[in-house]
């Protein structure tokens, strides 16, 4: 007897008790649906973290001016600008793992445009900054090396700033005043959204590093070439640690630090923080899927229960089939196919339920969800496996019946 004949018999047998079959399937439906929904919620959380990594600039290391000890008093991070533009160029030039290094100074100021004003952070940057942060320009153009060399008075606006000062009108070409210095807006940055810490990354203005030092933020008394931070982009994610160590070594050497001296700079590997967040959300996904799988297992027990009832009810039928020539394995196959049919139909409906559930979560809870095709395939396969596993015992029981007793069964 082939599998299709078995499947036809199975479908017919299931249709005899429609309600019972439907209720049995419900266990699998809920199980598969729950797995798909839970994995979608988990994957959504993971995707959010991945997006944050992206918004930060992937593979990014930040070098900050460190603390210095002045007359026995240790001052905090950034208290003195210990790193310089030259440090940045050295990092970019001498460490092959580094794709680009962008020196940055940061300050804040009140921006005026017409009769509107807005307080925001001002960053003095070089063209490398856009590479390091993966930050494209939405309209207009980015800073060029000429802007930095010539200390031109041009500015790029973050989206938040653009909206607050210009509303719907186009800022490119207009002139804004930063600390009373007129700047021509040459571009608006693409939207970055919130940082990991909830900071609005779009509430900023980028101007050439040289201009910032001369006109806006001012120059350190001690060292005119000093900068607040250097953002470094590493070529490959797995090189992050090596790159961090090389940067540390290079800077210690450049700063002529002795082995007993502490670093006078800080190195922050922000991607790492996010990666650990990603790892924890991955664990969360696994956990959710595992809990959902339990309901799939319970659904399997439901199938086993009903199949046992079915074998008992159809003892005479089994006896008859055996009398007319069915072998044990034919009967085994028939009931196994029936159990698997139950679980597969349940699985298919469960997929639909899962997709609807995912959509509902996204709509009503407002959570980010991401339907994973792999999860669908795995959940469906798992449902089939549950059908085989829990269908096997009742099927074997049916196959082991004695035809004489089965025929006599009342």
């Amino acid at each position: 007897m082939n599998i299709w004949a078995s499947a036809r018999i199975a479908v017919r047998a299931l249709r005899v008790n429609k309600l019972r079959s439907a209720l049995t399937m419900l266990g699998i439906v809920i199980g598969v649906g729950a797995v798909i929904t839970m994995v979608a919620v988990g994957a959504g959380a993971q995707a959010r973290v991945a997006e944050q990594i992206q918004s930060l600039g992937s593979n990014m290391i930040v070098v900050l001016s460190g603390s210095v000890t002045s007359g026995g008093v240790r001052l905090g991070s950034g208290s003195q600008l210990t790193i310089t533009e030259e440090d940045a160029w050295a990092i970019q030039r001498e460490i092959p793992l580094v794709e680009a290094a962008a020196p940055t100074v940061r300050g804040s100021a009140q921006i005026v445009y017409g009769n509107l004003n807005w307080a925001t952070s001002i960053q003095g940057v070089t063209p490398e900054y856009f590479v390091v942060r993966d930050w494209p320009v939405a309209s207009g153009k980015a800073l060029s090396q000429e802007d930095v060399d010539g200390a031109t008075k041009v500015a790029l606006l973050g989206e938040t700033v653009a909206i607050n000062l210009f509303g719907d009108s186009e800022p490119v070409g207009d002139v804004i005043r930063i600390k009373n210095v007129p700047f021509t807006v040459i571009g608006v940055l693409d939207r970055k959204g919130q940082s990991t810490y909830g900071q609005d990354q779009d509430d900023t203005i980028l101007i050439p590093l040289s201009t910032a030092k001369k006109k806006v933020i001012g120059v350190s008394q001690a060292n005119a070439r000093s900068v607040g931070s250097i953002s470094v982009k590493v070529r490959e994610a797995r090189m992050m640690h090596a790159a961090e160590e090389e940067i540390r070594g290079l800077l210690r050497q450049r700063h002529r630090l002795q082995t007993y001296q502490d670093d006078n700079f800080w190195i922050r590997n922000l991607s790492e923080v996010l990666e650990s967040q990603e790892a924890s959300s991955r664990v969360l996904t696994m956990l959710l899927a595992a809990i959902a799988s339990v309901s799939l297992l319970v659904g399997g027990i439901g199938i086993m229960n009903i199949m046992l009832v079915s074998v008992t009810e159809r003892t005479r039928e089994i006896g008859l089939r055996m009398a007319v020539g069915a072998r044990g394995k034919d009967i085994l196959m028939q009931f196994l196919v029936e159990a698997v049919t139950l679980s597969l139909i349940g699985g298919a409906v469960g997929i639909a339920f899962g997709l609807v559930g995912t959509y509902a979560v996204a709509c009503f809870a407002g959570w980010r969800t991401l339907v994973d095709p792999t999860a669908i395939v795995v959940a469906f396969g798992f449902a089939a496996a549950v059908g085989i596993f829990f269908g096997f015992y009742p099927a074997r029981k049916a196959a082991g019946l004695d035809p004489i007793e089965a025929l006599r069964y009342e």
């Binding site: 055996m322 007319v324 020539g325 072998r327 044990g328 025929l407």
Partner: protein, 251 residues
């Protein structure tokens, strides 16, 4: 003399009922030739059902030897027994044992599911057998839509589907009224004349008299083996019965 289809030699069958051993058959030796029509009689507990189960290859003897169509059954596997039943034996039961919610045609086809034939050939074969029992106009009816006599005819068509050497009928008229019983016996006689060996279990002497040989069992032993010189002819009996009960069959 036709070939010997069934041969038992000192067949013994014991059952274990709890801790007790039940001796259902205590040594039965018998030969049945191809083409015979044999009735097996005896009160309940006489061992006739056990004997039937052995003949039908549903069971194997505890001791002794049973050869069916030249094959010693005592030593073959469960699967091999299933194959023999499928290919060579047709069963007819008292309660018909048709599958509910399944058409007459599909019921007749059932044994073919466990044989080698292809699906198209199955349908044609099943039609032919339904036609042979006079039910070609009922092939899409479910058992619940058929009368008792019609259901038993479907069951007989099912038994015939693989052109078996032997038809084993266990109280085939036990659930039928007397006129229909005679009708069914007529069908068996017809099949027997066509060359099929029929073995029938019954406790009704009236029914047994349509066979040409009667085996009587008591307490697990064969007590009488008589050949009827003049068995009854069901066709004639049917013709002599009043036609008033006809309504059931033509319904």
């Amino acid at each position: 003399m036709p070939r010997v289809l069934i041969e038992t030699r000192d067949v013994v069958k014991d059952y274990r009922l709890g801790t007790r051993r039940v001796h259902a058959l205590r040594g039965v030796s018998i030969s049945i030739h191809a083409g015979e029509f044999v009735a097996v009689m005896g009160p309940s507990g006489s061992g006739k059902s056990t004997f039937m189960n052995l003949l039908g290859c549903l069971d194997r003897p505890t001791a002794g030897q049973y050869c069916f169509d030249g094959v010693d059954i005592s030593g073959v596997s469960r699967d091999a027994l299933a194959h023999i039943r499928n290919a060579k034996i047709g069963f007819v039961f008292q309660t018909f044992n048709l599958l509910a919610r399944t058409t007459a045609l599909e019921n007749v086809e059932l044994p073919l599911l466990y044989g080698p034939s292809a699906s198209r050939a199955r349908r044609e074969k099943a039609r032919a057998k339904l036609d042979a029992v006079g039910l070609s106009d009922r092939e899409h009816h479910h058992p619940s839509q058929l009368s008792g006599g019609q259901q038993q005819r479907v069951a007989i068509a099912r038994a015939l589907i693989n052109d078996p050497a032997l038809i084993l009928a266990d109280e085939p008229t036990g659930a039928l009224d007397s006129r229909t019983s005679v009708d069914i016996m007529g069908l068996f006689q017809e099949l027997n004349r066509g060359g099929i060996t029929v073995v029938l279990v019954t406790h009704e002497p009236d029914i047994a008299r349509y066979a040409d040989r009667i085996l009587s069992f008591r307490d697990g032993r064969l007590t009488k083996d008589e050949t009827l010189a003049d068995p009854m002819d069901a066709r004639q009996v049917l013709a002599s019965l009043p036609a008033t009960d006809d309504a059931e069959e033509s319904a």
